[in-house]
């Protein structure tokens, strides 16, 4: 217990010093680019529950958070729905691999953010572009890790399955898929993390709701306390959604020394 208490104390020291510094260098000044921490806290409360400022933004946080979460998970699930089967095909079928892999590798170095302008031209300005960008951002990590997982199944396991009487058509379900699962999960986790990076950019233009949208809007209105509140909420949601995937992974991959 005393050891734990000490660890907690040390862990809290840095944030507290930081908060104190932030407070002292912003509160009560005549000019300050950044609002003091207490004001951010009040704003966060107002965003979440209202009752402080009662302006355009009061109590709108659930709506914006829901919109972002919806897009992140929508784009992510679509990416998974496409990247998983495609990755398995590329990994297992030589013809598909020869056909598609070079093209996909060629497109991969183009950062997802560079697609933003083109996405807005093709998909229009608004949630559809954001959705597409999230999709694209999550797509490659999932695809690459799925291909890797499927391709690096230990050859010994195919022999073991064959000598135990598994028919060639059942090998995919009985061997390839379970063996590739840890790698696939790594891909899903990376993809979801990337989805949160991208959603902020995707919501920057032409979208009315969403955390990225209020951050950008607040910036233009010089409501910096809303900008910081939005960052905190996105950080929190990103953290929770990663914890969710990790918990799921731990359950499904109990057998894997790296995950279980």
């Amino acid at each position: 217990m005393p050891v734990r208490g000490r660890a907690l104390g040390l862990a809290l020291a840095a944030p507290l010093i930081f908060l104190a510094f932030w407070h002292l260098s912003t509160a009560g000044r005549s000019f300050s680019l950044i609002p003091p921490p207490l004001e951010v806290g009040r704003q966060l409360w107002d965003l979440a529950f209202g009752g402080v400022w009662d302006d355009l933004y009061s109590a709108t946080l659930p709506e914006h958070a829901l919109a972002s979460v919806g897009r992140v998970y929508g784009g992510f699930l679509l990416a998974a729905a496409l990247a998983l089967p495609l990755g398995m095909l590329i990994g297992r079928v030589a013809l598909v691999r020869s056909l598609l892999d070079p093209t996909l590798q060629l497109l991969r170095p183009i950062p997802v953010t560079a697609w933003l302008p083109l996405a807005m031209i093709v998909f229009g300005i608004g949630p559809r572009s954001a959705f597409f960008l999230v999709f694209l951002g999550a797509f490659y990590p999932i695809l690459v890790n799925t291909i890797f997982g499927v391709r690096s199944v230990d050859g010994r396991l195919f022999e073991a399955a064959a000598m135990l009487g598994v028919s060639p058509s059942a090998v995919f379900w009985k061997v390839v898929l379970p063996a590739a699962l840890p790698s696939i999960f790594t891909g899903l986790r990376l993809g979801l993390g990337f989805a949160w990076v991208v959603i902020v950019v995707g919501e920057m233009t032409g979208v009315q709701t969403g955390l990225g949208a209020i951050i950008m809007e607040a910036r233009q209105l010089s409501r910096t306390e809303i900008v910081i509140s939005g960052m905190v909420v996105i950080g929190l949601l990103g953290f929770l959604s990663d914890a969710l995937v990790q918990a799921l992974g731990r359950r499904l991959l109990r057998w894997s020394p790296q995950h279980g």
Binding site: L33, M120, I121, V122, I125, R128, T205, G206, R219
Partner: protein, 290 residues
């Protein structure tokens, strides 16, 4: 039916926010504010919205690149200004030489400033143009990131009332006059759904006339819907001329404008004006209103 209307976060783009009161039976409107004229235009050509109000420049840029954007009405004139720091040395356009000037590429203002610079014997290369969006221009000036900007209202209003900026000039002395924003639709909408275009033209006219007559209401709307500063709007609104009709003068100025753009190499060919201008709805409405 629900009509989606794209507008800009500017005071001279306030008309669409009044559409709601004038919508015919059975029709509703959703107004979506955009950050830049090109985004408004892109929203129209990608059918993210049914109609849009944005600067003439974005329309010409799109049409010259064979995008299906069609002007069916006017939206406003004026609404722009060259602003510099009040405590700075910039008093006339020629003082901009070598300075950092906030300009948004693809905006109507960009062509005006380029033409004004040419008239003063300078080019865009004589200044340092910095890409800053309209809503950030005031903040950038206040921070000192830029020395001046070519802005759209209410930016200049904010700069003036907050004591940070001063107006260098209103750049209306070119052959393009006070030309600014248009009312536009997708080409297919004008062909396949002329009734909708006509109906929205009527809504647009009535909203435009209402807002012109009720300045207080326009200011109140900008405060409520766009979160703008009231004191600044009182100044800004003097520099705004809302309208709706594609007058022959407006079309003439637009052609001049397009010519300037080509001379400035912003476009490589003139838009096909037979497609780009569709005066039918504006003319019909003018006849009906008369």
């Amino acid at each position: 039916t629900r009509v989606r209307m794209g507008a800009l976060r500017l005071i001279h783009s306030i008309t669409p926010f009044f559409y709601e009161r004038f919508m015919p039976e059975g029709m509703t409107v959703e107004v979506i504010p955009f950050e830049s004229p090109t985004e408004g235009k892109n929203a129209v050509v990608t059918r993210s919205v049914d109609f849009g109000a944005f600067g003439i420049a974005a329309g010409i840029l799109g049409s010259a690149a064979r995008e299906p954007v069609v002007v069916i009405g006017s939206c406003c004139d004026k609404g722009m200004a060259v602003v510099a720091r009040k405590d700075g040395p910039i008093n006339t356009l020629t003082d901009l030489r070598g300075r950092r000037v906030g300009i948004w590429p693809g905006s109507t203002q960009e062509v005006f400033i380029r033409e004004r610079l040419r008239m003063e014997g300078m080019t865009i290369r004589d200044i340092q143009s910095i890409r800053v969006s309209f809503s950030e221009m005031h903040a950038a000036l206040a921070r000192g990131d830029i020395d001046a900007y070519v802005g759209a209202e209410p930016g200049p209003g904010i700069s003036v009332t907050s004591g940070i900026g001063k107006i260098v000039e209103f750049p209306y002395s070119t052959a393009m006059g006070t030309l600014n924003m248009i009312f536009a639709a997708h080409h297919e909408t004008t062909q396949r759904n002329p009734q909708l275009c006509a109906a929205m033209m009527r809504v647009h006219r009535r909203a435009s006339e209402y807002a012109t007559l009720n300045r207080a209401a326009a200011i109140e709307m900008a405060v409520q819907r766009l979160g703008m500063n009231r004191a600044a709007l009182e100044v800004s609104i003097e520099n705004v001329e809302l309208n709706w009709r594609m007058t022959p003068a407006m079309i003439e100025r637009s052609r001049t404008y397009a010519q300037h753009m080509q001379e400035l190499q912003q476009i490589r060919q003139q838009p096909d004006f037979n497609v780009f201008f569709n005066t039918r709805f504006s003319d019909d409405e003018a006849r009906a209103a008369a």
